[in-house]
């Protein structure tokens, strides 16, 4: 019978939650790396026992971990993330030039085919790659240096590269997103990049239709339709059907289109999920009611999902990397909150239950579907 392994990164360590295919009874293992901020951990699709971890601390910087046995044991790997050449400057919050400074790895994206190959999205924004299982890291510097970099500026969480989408069949095509620069795509394995932000409109920047400067919060795709991208922007839920060349808004009847997460059902490429958040200054659900909203039409038409979720006095947030789906026949949806809850719906969002309720603030959630 299939199993699921949920990898949870929190402000104070990592946790591994496991269950059988029914997803009703759970084992909780952790904290791993107690006391450290775990922005992200993710397993290799090519070898599920290979798990990469970003472990960081305001005191002691960035360290990296790797497991080759599904999280039973860990090995410290390389943590030298150096910008290639003169790092230059980007815009600071007040518009003045500010030097590029490495702070942490926000997101890890293992290769779909090679367990030793993994990408890392960094703050200050840059994309790194390791071809040796995390021992050494090399910047794909053409992204940072392609021309608009001096105009990028940090969002409230820092100037982070937080989304890395690998094309399922074309290894040279990668889509990434940066707060607050926008989305970018390479079609040649990282040699060249182009901004893919046409159609995004951001009222909070001087030119709402600018080429860069948009605060993209997260992007998701379904592997069967890799040219269709779904985006939760600072405000607005967007979709593109041409790999980001043009975006259209699909917020539809959402009660607010501010939010952080967005994800796609494992078997229904037009079924997508978001968690609307009140506003950019009030990072909690509307009216204290935690609601996932589902669209079965790829956007525009949305329905609230509430069964099993707190519908009063709930003022948590759901951060951008804290939603995931499993690949079981009845697709499971998962998300974690800044209040330390991790919720699962084993039936595509109709019913929810808390797997755990009192973890440190959840930064990321990933799911592995295991044989």
């Amino acid at each position: 019978m299939s199993k699921v392994r949920v990898l949870v990164g929190t402000r104070k360590g990592a946790f591994i939650l496991t269950s059988d295919g029914a997803r009703r009874h759970w084992s909780v293992d952790g904290p791993h790396f107690p006391g450290w901020e775990i922005y992200h951990l993710k397993g290799s699709p090519a070898d599920p026992n290979r798990i990469y971890v970003s472990q960081s601390s305001a005191w002691f910087g960035q360290t990296m971990q790797r497991s080759d046995d599904g999280g039973l044991t860990w090995t410290t790997t390389g943590n030298q993330f150096l910008y290639e050449g003169d790092a230059g400057t980007h815009q600071w919050y007040d518009g003045t030039p500010h030097p590029w400074e490495f702070k942490r790895v926000w997101h890890l994206e293992p290769s779909l085919t090679d367990p030793d190959s993994v990408y890392a999205g960094a703050e200050d924004a840059a994309l790194f790659h390791s071809a040796d299982g995390g021992a050494t890291w090399r910047e794909l510097s053409a992204l940072r240096t392609h021309g608009t970099g001096p105009h990028w500026q940090p969002g409230a969480g820092g100037m982070c590269l937080h989304t890395i989408l690998l094309h399922p069949t074309d290894p040279k095509r990668i889509v990434i997103a940066i707060s607050a620069a926008g989305a970018f795509r390479t079609d040649d394995g990282g040699l060249t990049w182009k901004p893919i932000n046409q159609g995004l409109r951001s009222e909070f920047i001087p030119d709402p239709n600018a080429e860069v400067g948009h605060c993209v919060h997260h992007i998701a795709l379904h592997p069967s339709r890799p040219d269709t991208l779904f985006m939760q922007k600072h405000w607005d839920v967007m979709r593109s059907d041409n790999a980001g060349d043009r975006w259209t808004e699909v917020s539809g009847n959402l009660p607010t289109d501010f939010g952080f997460v967005i994800d796609v059902h494992a078997h229904q490429p037009e079924t997508i999920y978001v968690v609307p958040i009140q506003s950019d200054s009030q990072h909690f659900p509307l009216d204290g009611q935690l609601r996932v909203w589902r669209s079965r039409t790829g956007g525009h038409e949305w329905e609230p999902l509430t069964h099993g979720l707190p519908q009063a006095n709930c003022y948590v947030n759901v951060l951008r990397d804290a939603m995931a789906v499993d690949r079981l026949d009845d697709c499971g949806i998962y998300f974690g909150t800044t209040g330390g809850q991790v919720y699962v719906s084993p039936d595509g969002g109709d019913h929810w239950q808390a797997i755990v309720e009192n973890l440190p603030a959840v930064l990321s959630v990933e799911v592995q579907t295991l044989p």
Partner: protein, 103 residues
């Protein structure tokens, strides 16, 4: 000539490096014994500590890492300056602390 000193690490780094002992750890440091040499020796003996005390891009001490010797704060002395004899003669350990900064 190599010198044997004692070093106390923050608990979170001991755990990270898999150092079970709660006592100061012995460390052989190549001469001249400086903070830079201590960091190199620590990273060599415990690779998990690489880049945790200094920034790999600048080589500088991380802002929230502090060094104390004989009750004195030596965090701000150059990393290549000699450290006090009380440390190099083994009379007391070099204290490495994380700054008290909440969290």
């Amino acid at each position: 000539m190599p010198t044997l000193i004692q070093v106390e690490l923050p608990a979170v780094l001991r755990l990270h490096a898999g150092i079970a002992s709660h006592y100061p750890i012995p460390l052989v440091v190549e001469a001249p014994v400086t903070l830079a040499a201590v960091i190199r020796a620590l990273e060599s003996a415990h690779p998990a500590l690489c880049n945790t005390l200094r920034d790999p891009a600048t080589g500088r001490r991380r802002a929230l890492v502090r060094f104390f010797a004989g009750g004195a704060d030596i965090s701000h002395q150059p990393l290549d300056a000699p450290i006090p004899e009380a440390i190099t003669q083994g009379r007391e350990p070099l204290l490495i602390l994380g700054a008290i900064a909440g969290g």
